[in-house]
Symmetry: none
Subunit: 496 residues, 2 copies
């Protein structure tokens, strides 16, 4: 067997374990009973360890060393060797026992987080979080970094990103957004949201979510929609990309925008060819690029006037109170800016502030300048500083996100980067597809999807995020597109 075939088989075996792990994770959030957790964490720990061993194996190291010098490889194969190679090198630094230990702790921390969140009991979650921070710091040391331990973790989610670069992106963004938010609040005229008042049957919302997903061309024969506490999308393999959602009876738009958001993620993975998966490139260019796909469908599309022009009568089919509503009123009501407690419910203008505060906390946890015990206080202080609101309890504060319970430190900035990538890409789409608004107004999402498939989806992780952004938009990531997008849009809605 030649080295390329052996390499591809090896990556294929890793993909099979990763697929089983994705299913185990999806099931844990959606269907697994409470008493199944002990076994599940052992099973997940074992398979994670096996996957890790394949990733760091000497065998894979030999294939990579040979293939790095080889000629005649396809572009995807070269990208695979680059990506998998980096992953291999980074993880060779971590002892396999530590991975299994962390994975078991992670499963327990997730369960503890669910309970703590329900009981508004940060103290019960604290020892689990301390453990997860401990693992993150040890991992950072094993990975190595030049400036800040956080950089070592960011690399997992946003290749090439650093603490210093993030600060350089955040600085001007904050300088523009803080005064803009103040102007909106002080001088703007908030839209009337009473059109959205009501109680909306959960089962009807569930059916509406299916309809919304069909509209944006999510393929149900290659996925599915399940109920969950905190919506997410998971890729079990090519042909199996699943969405989850939740339905709050007094917040209709919450499930609509979640469906659009998760739909955006899922379209990315449904748009990758099998060869991308076969070469271990199914994760996408980066978390930030993945998030740009979800945020664009949710915001640039789902919160636009063309979308609401089309969507108002659809909504009327499910909830008759909207049959006579005006698309413009719904559009305005869907775009209220209101500093909120919970990140996933945040509007476009304030969302990035939620990320800035998490970034500060994570960087502090990693370099040791912040203790876990202080998190509720630090969280609430930062909420007041950025948004002028203070959570009445930790459930709506520091306990709101699943990420830390999973040991994902360095993940949050992806959400902000996703907003910025989305705005920048969308300004390019507008130039290259001038009929976009007209097609969205008629419910035709094909021109948008065709552009995204060609420019973004089909490449999977073949491109680094900065390179992809430059290739698509002509220049590197720059927050000015986002600032222009929100100031123009919300300036008009708020009649500044």
């Amino acid at each position: 067997m030649d080295t390329l075939t052996a390499y591809r088989n090896h990556i294929g075996d890793m993909g099979k374990l990763a697929s089983a792990l994705s299913l185990l994770g999806w099931d844990q959030q959606t269907h697994m009973p409470a008493k199944g957790v002990a076994t599940r964490s052992q099973v997940t720990g074992k398979l994670s360890k096996m996957l890790f061993e394949l990733l760091v194996s000497d065998e894979l190291g030999r294939y990579l060393a040979e293939l790095r010098k080889a000629d005649g490889l396809s572009e995807l194969e070269r990208a695979s060797i680059r990506r998998v190679g980096k992953n291999h090198d980074r993880n060779r630094a971590i002892p396999p026992e530590l991975i299994e230990e962390q994975s078991i702790a992670q499963s327990q921390a997730q369960t503890a987080w669910i309970a703590a969140r329900q009981a508004n009991d940060f103290a019960a979650f604290r020892p689990h979080l301390e453990k997860m921070v401990g693992y993150a710091r040890r991992f950072a040391e094993y990975y190595g970094y030049e400036e800040h331990p956080y950089d070592a973790l960011l690399e997992d989610f946003e290749p090439g990103m650093t603490c210093r670069k993030l600060k350089a992106i955040i600085e001007p963004l904050r300088a523009d957004l803080v005064p803009f938010l103040r102007r909106l609040q002080e001088n703007g005229t908030p839209p009337d949201t009473s059109v959205l008042n009501g109680t909306f049957d959960a089962e009807a919302q569930r059916r509406l979510s299916r309809r919304v997903l069909e509209l944006v061309r999510y393929d149900f024969d290659a996925g599915g929609l399940a109920d969950v506490a905190h919506p997410f999308t998971t890729t079990i393999g090519p042909g199996d990309v699943r969405i989850t959602n939740r339905y709050l009876e007094t917040q209709l738009l919450s499930s609509v925008f979640s469906a659009l958001h998760e739909g955006g993620h899922a379209l990315y993975n449904q748009g990758m060819p099998e060869e991308v998966y076969a070469l271990g490139l199914g994760g996408g260019a980066s978390n930030g690029i993945h998030e740009s796909q979800s945020r664009m469908i949710e915001n640039q599309i789902g919160r636009s006037l063309p979308f609401w022009t089309f969507f108002q009568p659809v909504l009327g089919e499910f909830f008759p109170q909207f049959k006579t509503a005006k698309a413009k009123d719904l559009y305005a009501a869907a775009n209220v800016v209101s500093p909120s407690l919970v990140r996933v419910e945040a509007d476009e203008v304030t969302y990035n502030f939620h990320i800035m505060l998490r970034f500060e906390i994570e960087a502090g946890l990693l370099d040791g300048s912040i203790d876990v015990a202080d998190l509720p206080r630090l969280w609430n202080d930062a909420m007041e500083r950025y948004l002028g609101v203070v959570p009445p309890n930790d459930t709506q504060g520091v306990l709101q996100d699943v990420h830390w319970s999973m040991g994902y430190f360095g993940y949050f900035p992806s959400y902000m980067l996703g907003n910025l990538y989305a705005a920048q890409m969308f300004s390019t789409i507008r130039e290259e597809v001038p009929t976009l608004d007209a097609s969205i107004r008629t419910g035709d999402f094909e021109p948008l999807l065709a552009w995204l498939r060609e420019k973004v989806h089909r490449h999977g992780a073949a491109c680094e995020p900065q390179e992809l952004t430059k290739r698509i938009t002509g220049h590197e990531l720059d927050g000015k597109h986002f600032v222009r997008y929100v100031t123009e849009k919300y300036g008009a809605i708020y009649r500044l």
Copy 2:
């Protein structure tokens, strides 16, 4: 690490792979989208191969050899070494190439069976079935046997069972049941089933299934209920034993009895302590004993008058037409005897005939006295002989079951043995728990469950089925309990 610890870790690793495989299988039947099948079969194939390699490994062989001579082991540990050891030895006996060859042929035979069944074309399935019989005969030679090659295969499903013993069980059973069925048909008064006529909303049936399962004390915190085309129960681990069901709008009792049946299987696995699972004994004493637990809850309980006395008003809560129905009428309508073409639709009196004819055919295929080419004729002859009905086509005849296409020869007798074990155990329960009927009449299933937990469930596969039966009931398996049960019950219902 001492050998016992190493052995337990090895069994633990096998259990983790088995748990992942159970989830992959459950998901494939319940939630996996159509386009997920290609990846799923690769993932399942890979994990199955890994599990098999652990089972036949030299390492496990060494642990077993040492522990077979060791002192100071617990009863469960000794049982584990006996059971796992037998499994190891049997699978080591087959050349790995033959297993792989058979596995490919099996996959092709299943596809061919599905097509042949749809097209009512036995001839198209015949060469595949001949191949599967060929493999079964070769496997039997490798496993070894004393009297009959079929014995070597029965061992997989019912340890200690042989062709000779089965004949000795079947002979008197047939001698009693054939004339009893004739008497029922000729002299009996069939119950009026019109009380069950109607159309029953699937969602209400789903809620009813949950209620039924709660009643029999199935633990939803250690399981769940999902929709599926063909109901089954799957054990993903201790604390995670899942039930599936289907809901036919014109056949209310189909989902009720399926819930009870699968509930019986699930109670068995929910009643096994973690140590049983940890030692690889979570499969139960045998397929027949497992089936006895499902059949007892379905039939001895679910098709009894005390149950219907309690259940009639419950049913009325879900379907108002039953609010004024008489428990006795519902009980009678749930116990119609009607020779049918299809095993899975058979009633208590005729079910075993479906098994007898399959047993005769399987034994003949294994010893070469029957040719595959003759199966349609032999099948139809036996149907006429036992049940007085002849299938109008092979789809409803010899092609109805999936088992042979999967190479499962020796599995069918478990269904009959389950009926017989259930009747025999139940007559003991009646003696030892004289208040049983009274408690069932009030919806209290705790006394029954307490007995089953103590006598059957908690042992898992620690006991061989014959030994377990003797220990519980005082003597070996004897069909007379079943004969007495059905003749008394149906004699009364049919007013003989």
